[in-house]
């Protein structure tokens, strides 16, 4: 997305935004909204929730636009959206303990830890699987893989133990792998039937 604008163009756009230009704000939205929505979708379970997060995120972006510019504008916006997503999930009072109990029911999933390839699977399908993860799993998974937080940082951020973070991440990963493998198996079966 950033590729669509050069650094100079981005700076110009940011400057215009800071001056309160409606046109510039609209342009920022047009350019970056799909990419930021992609991030929101990873944290939430459907598009409606993702748009709620994106809404709050853009409000924050526009009201705090004066603080942007010290680094990458895109990175700054991503950070805001991530924080908004986190806040959104916090407001829903995710209970990690409950998920720990939940995990026990799916402990057998841990067996499916073989590496999987994403060949033949669209990003949209993988996103659907991420969205289907329980909220706690999804949040920790996002923070660990995409935001590159360590388990210690996640534990501090979410006020949980490091062990909980590790176990939930592990289970999230297993569950995701299983979903992908199941999907591929089903696809294979379908193809076989079609071949017959």
């Amino acid at each position: 997305m950033q590729g669509m604008l050069t650094t100079i163009e981005t700076e110009k756009l940011l400057k215009a935004c800071k001056k309160g230009s409606y046109k510039a704000r609209s342009k920022v939205y047009k350019i970056y909204a799909p990419m930021l929505l992609g991030i929101c979708l990873r944290y939430t379970k459907n598009k409606s929730e993702a748009e709620d997060v994106l809404h709050e995120g853009f409000i924050k972006i526009y009201t705090k636009i004066d603080q942007a510019g010290r680094g990458s504008f895109e990175g700054w916006m991503k950070k805001i959206i991530m924080n908004e997503a986190l806040q959104f999930l916090r407001n829903r009072n995710i209970s990690f303990k409950r998920h720990e109990k939940y995990e026990l029911d799916y402990i057998s999933d841990l067996a499916s830890t073989d590496d999987v390839s994403f060949e033949g699977i669209s990003t949209k399908t993988i996103l659907d699987f991420i969205q289907k993860l329980p909220e706690g799993y999804r949040l920790i998974f996002n923070l660990y893989v995409f935001e590159e937080y360590s388990h210690k940082q996640i534990a501090e951020l979410l006020n949980i133990s490091e062990g909980t973070s590790k176990s939930q991440y592990s289970r999230a990963k297993s569950k995701l792998k299983k979903s992908i493998n199941d999907y591929k198996d089903n696809k294979l079966k379908e193809n076989k039937y079609e071949g017959i």
Partner: protein, 496 residues
Amino acid sequence: MKEFDEFEKSLKDTFNDYSAEKPSSKLWIRINTSLVALYATKSSAIIGSVIAIVSIIALTLFVNSNEIIDNNLVNIRETELIVNTESNNTTNAQKKQAENDNKTKTNIVAITKQINNNIESEKQNNLKKSNTTAFNNTIVRNEEKEISTSVNANLIKTTVIVDEVLRENNTSSVNNSTSELVSLNIDNRINFREKKPVYNKEAELISVPLLKHDYSNNTKVNVEMEPIRPIGSKRSVIHYNYDFFLGGQYNYSQIKLDPTNSYDKDFNKNSTALDYNFGTNINVYKDNWFVRLGLNYNKYTEHYFYNTSSISVDSTVYNYTFISRSYTQIITGWNTNVGGGIDSIPIYEQSVVETTNQNSVAEYDTARVINNYEYKNEYSVINIPLLVGREFDMESFVFDFAAGVSWSHIVKCNAYVLEPENGEMIPMNENNSLIKKDIFNAVLSLGAGYKLSRSNIIFVRPELYYNLNSIIDKKYIENHKMYQMRFSLGLRYTIR
């Protein structure tokens, strides 16, 4: 640096530049609305401005969305194409006939082909750009400029036949067809501005084929033409523009006291003053009619003179007594031989009667005291006018007139009102119940503009604001009205 396994790396790569589909169109409106609400809490003055901006945005979106779903336009373009094809067939036939007859009916095919190509490209443009109405409007508005062509020929004199074919809307029947012979010099430019196509409101001009005929030697002439634009439909189109203006105003205020009020004669009942105003309007057009919704700020002052007079009298009363004395003398005898002489002296008896009268007199010292008051009332007013008007184009000039109403809200005032019982001036402010914050005006507007470019017009606009209701409670002043004669200079920007 964290170490990721293959699965995690693949996952990160997959989502690295992932962009979801576009968010729903309502989200942008939601964001804007939230921002408006956020900013609006800062001050009441900002609230008015922002609501107007949001209205303009909403109106813009509304107009845009109307334009996007306007399938009729595309249909019309398609119909044009079909009819042009028919026209093409006809001209082909004409050409064949012309060749058979060894006459010089020239390159009709080439010309009509160009027209068709042009329509094709216009149509594609139409489909590509969602701004279809603006496009259509562009064609309508620029027909006079665009429908021109140059003819390059190796002949001294050429003749061009201009055909204009009119067709009823959504029918294939040709309603009207005219031809005209025009003589040209080499590289002469036919300007249809001088030869306005025949129009009727219900019809569309579907093509303007040109036939070139050299009567001098009866030979075929190769004509190279610049693309000819088809004329757009004469159908009603909605478009809009914004204008921004700044100007001065002449204020005339009138105060009417109760006729029984003893101060009536002492009060200067008229006031004149000069002030300023500035603001913005959005004008939505259909044909040459328009609706104008605006937001402007103006400063309004009035200047009054008022005097009171009183007479004071000091009086002094002086009392005094008149005394009257009456004397009575009676000769009672004579004294003889007084001193041995012979003379005699009369002897008198005298009585005095004294009378007194009390009286008084007053003296007056009169003083007349006159107090002169001069006071200035100041109001800061936000106006939202809603006008309906009509616009006329004349060459590079644009004229319009409009009439409507305006709602005015007094956001700040520093003013006084006469208290009729004892003639004192009572201060008013915006929180005071004495003053009505909302007033209504009838508005008349005239405008004259000059086209700087296709999108920009500079204009002057005299306007009359006629106050419909008194701004002060009737128990203090029977009537208080404010009239404004504005003269604004501004710039209008048309969205295309």
